[in-house]
């Protein structure tokens, strides 16, 4: 049974504070753009899933977990929420006025530098990130950070296991290929790797010891998150040791011209209200279904 956090496996999670798009929390300006001031911010849903994946490494392998985010001081709350999910041992906030206006490439530069600052000489075996952010990100930060770190990139991962002896990771990826969706690909890669977690990922703990460890670390996570500042390091450009030319607006080659609102597609379906007590109407529905399903109905 794993009882203490071992140094056998070091993982890091990259998270993001995002607007809460759930009903009742989100607010839009008159022109349809997001009203950031009025909208509550939370740990992004994809970041939460990445945190869950890191927690799996903690429960199953006793991994040490670090969480990092780039953003203004309020992004601290994303770190706190992530810590609650993954019982992080270390929290990083990469915060500097110079980072403003960063595109994915410039962000990747900061995150790469951040990973190298993780305690223990930045020897991180697995970096987890969400599939993408929900507030207008393109899903490129992950691969770009992996590339800058020189880590093998594994995208759309829905399950993974680590062989601590041979230091290999075996992962299941959900991919689509030539019009086929949901193909499961199993890959093996030597550590270190960069894993972007698929939204459908769900951690499952299937032994007694894992369930016990789960309870224990969850309890620890609750008490740690209450005192998250004790675990927090705030790092600026200089502390991260990055060339200012590579970050923020100067380091961002992307030009966003305008984001178009996608017009709502016109529905071609017709709907009709059926009275469940009316036998004739029900018979008609059954007949239609039979027709549509082409005799596939068994009974």
């Amino acid at each position: 049974m794993t009882s203490t956090t071992t140094k056998d496996l070091n993982v890091a999670v990259i998270v993001k504070l995002e607007p809460d798009f759930s009903e009742g929390n989100v607010s839009y300006n008159a022109d349809g753009t997001l009203n950031r001031a009025e909208t509550k911010s939370i740990l992004g849903p994809h970041s939460a899933i990445a945190s869950n994946a890191a927690f799996y490494a903690k429960v199953k392998y006793g991994a040490r977990v670090a969480v990092g985010t780039m953003g203004p001081p309020i992004a601290e709350s994303a770190l706190q929420q992530a810590q609650l999910l993954c019982d992080a041992d270390e929290l990083h906030l990469y915060s500097d006025r110079l980072f403003a206006g960063a595109d994915t490439l410039a962000t990747a530069e900061v995150l790469k530098a951040g990973v190298s600052k993780v305690e223990g000489d930045g020897k991180v075996d697995i970096v987890f990130s969400g599939h993408r952010a929900s507030d207008g990100e393109t899903g490129q930060t992950g691969p770009q950070t992996a590339w800058k770190l020189g880590y093998t990139f594994l995208g759309h991962v829905i399950d993974y296991n680590v062989d601590l002896q041979s230091r290999f990771v075996r992962a299941k990826r959900l991919i689509s290929l030539q019009g086929f969706y949901d193909i499961l690909e199993e890959v093996e890669a030597p550590l270190p790797v960069f894993i972007s977690i698929d939204p459908s990922y769900k951690a499952f703990f299937n032994t007694v010891s894992q369930r016990l460890a789960f309870e224990k670390y969850q309890k620890e996570a609750r008490s740690r998150a209450e005192n998250y500042k004790q675990f927090l390091k705030v790092l600026n450009t200089q502390q991260l040791g990055i060339d200012p030319k590579l970050v923020g607006l100067p380091g961002s080659p992307t030009i966003v011209y305008k984001v178009e609102r996608i017009p709502k597609a016109k529905a071609s379906r017709k709907s009709e209200v059926i009275d469940g007590a009316n036998r004739d109407q029900l018979t008609r529905v059954a007949a239609n279904m039979y027709e549509v399903l082409g005799g596939m109905v068994i009974k």
Binding site: M1, S3, F205, N206, T207, V208, S209, Q210, R211, L212, E215, K216
Partner: protein
Amino acid sequence: MEHYDVAIIGGGSAGLAALKQLSNLNKQAILIEAGKKAGSKNISGGILYSKKPKHGKTFNVEDVYPEFLQDTPVERRITQYMLHATSRDKVFTMNLTAAHEYQANFGYSVLLNKLNGWFAKQASESAERQGGGIVSGVHVRSLNWQNEKTVIETDEIEPFEAKAVIAADGVNSELAEMTGARAKFTPEQLYQGVKVIVKLPEEIIEQRFGIGPDEGAAHLFAGDVTLNHIGGGFLYTNLDTLSVGAVYHYDSLMERPSEPYTLVNALIKNPLVAEFIKDQVAVKEEIDKNLPKEEQLRTRFAVSKLIKTWNELRDSYHSRAARKKLIESGKYKSEEEIRARLDYVQNELATKYYTKFVTDYVELEYGAKLVPDGKRCAMKKPYYKNILFVGDAAGRGIFIGPRIEGLNVGIDDGVRAANAVARAIDRNNFSTQFMGESYSQSIEESPYTRDMKEIDKDYLKIFLDAAKDVPKDIIGQRYGMVFRLMSSGTLRGLAVGFANILGYDKLLPLVESEDTYVQVPIELAEKTGRQVQATYEPTIPTIAQRIAQLKYDDDRVSHIKVLNPKSEFMKKMVTLCPTLCYSMEGGDVTLQHEACIECGSCAKETEWRHPRGEKGVIYQYG
């Protein structure tokens, strides 16, 4: 395969006590509980007793959990214990506080979600220090033996091994069934308990029942509220709720089936009970359908929100601790200010939205469970191979007079089983001769086992004393004679001694009869009872409304399989299932399992399993 010294199956009060005791003895143990959290599957009446036996020793709650008396994860210390004989609007009352206090250090009203939740917290913290703990949301499916060790298979996680197993899986023990350690309980050995939780603000409870902040009342009912079944009703005060329920001999219900909820309803309709549970309730006025849609919607939200505020504020206003908290938080400056705000909200509701404030009562939760009658079904040798059975799983419930004791018995069993297992670990001997027998012997020495076998003449005297003022002639010739005879100490000693030699169980059909539970109380109430009038008519929720209020984690697959859809027993289940899961379809009994609250009433003639991990009903109060 993972290996553990001890696996405890079931996280009710009995299993949790076993875990805590094993950890206290520095032994590693894990506890597997099917519910999402310990406490979410358990239901009681209930009063948790701490026993002070005349002979021998019991392991009480405060012995196992030293923090119990400081943390008091309980509701109220019961200081008043009244028995009411009812007949329509007549009630004859006897004070039985002496029976409640008999051989007891204390008795607290409890709600099992909170109580077992607290037990679990204490037990898991101790267990973790020994490398064990609680695994919840896991349902044990089967057991096998490989080289003396038990392999435990579950629906959720990989199999694991244990040297010793403690079966604390309740009255519908699957472990007992799958091992054949005991036969399924029959209706004669069981009671069916049904109860509802009623909401009532803290200080209103205190005023109404004439009790102080640290006090509680218990009221028992017999007579016409039983609808001629053998058993009775109860009402216990919790901190800011009441537990109102009915416990009946299951064979009595089998004989003349009544829907279980009608028995609770009969109790609620009794004028004394109706007056006990009444409260002020806000009733929404129909929204004017002629208003524009948006306006209707806006009004509906506004009213719901205001009523919620009114309820919360009112609960706080009538609670010492909550009032203090509101003032300390700076939200209000004084009690008067809270009162003023409450009046304002009420006025707003009444004048702006035409909300009516009426006298009625509010139910929060409906639940049911079978209770084993230890006198008739306690396992003689509560073990099988390396499995020790505790609590309800071993059939060890006590019914003496109106007192029900299962929680405290389960705790005592749990400790005894833990002690036997700890010794077995020390000697590395898990054989039936060593571990099973030493547990069985310890159980035999438990004062509770004696309570299941013998009538205690001193306890009996309390009842006779309480009935002293009853004119003997009105209880009919037969009973008058018995009363007169038993009132003499010598004769009573003789009679009880004789009865005990004859065998308690042989005497039971006489003691536990329709006469004692129904006819005598009715006669008493009719002839000497005072008249009680209800000032309102309680609006009793329908069973569908009660089910709708419960929380479930639905499972697609049914955990119960009907074996013979034409059997007489199954036909009776159409009436006796507390949530009406059974119905007749063309001569066959069919089951819709979704509303099942896992009471076990249908277990005897079905393939009965607890739902898979986390699935099924989730009690908020218990």
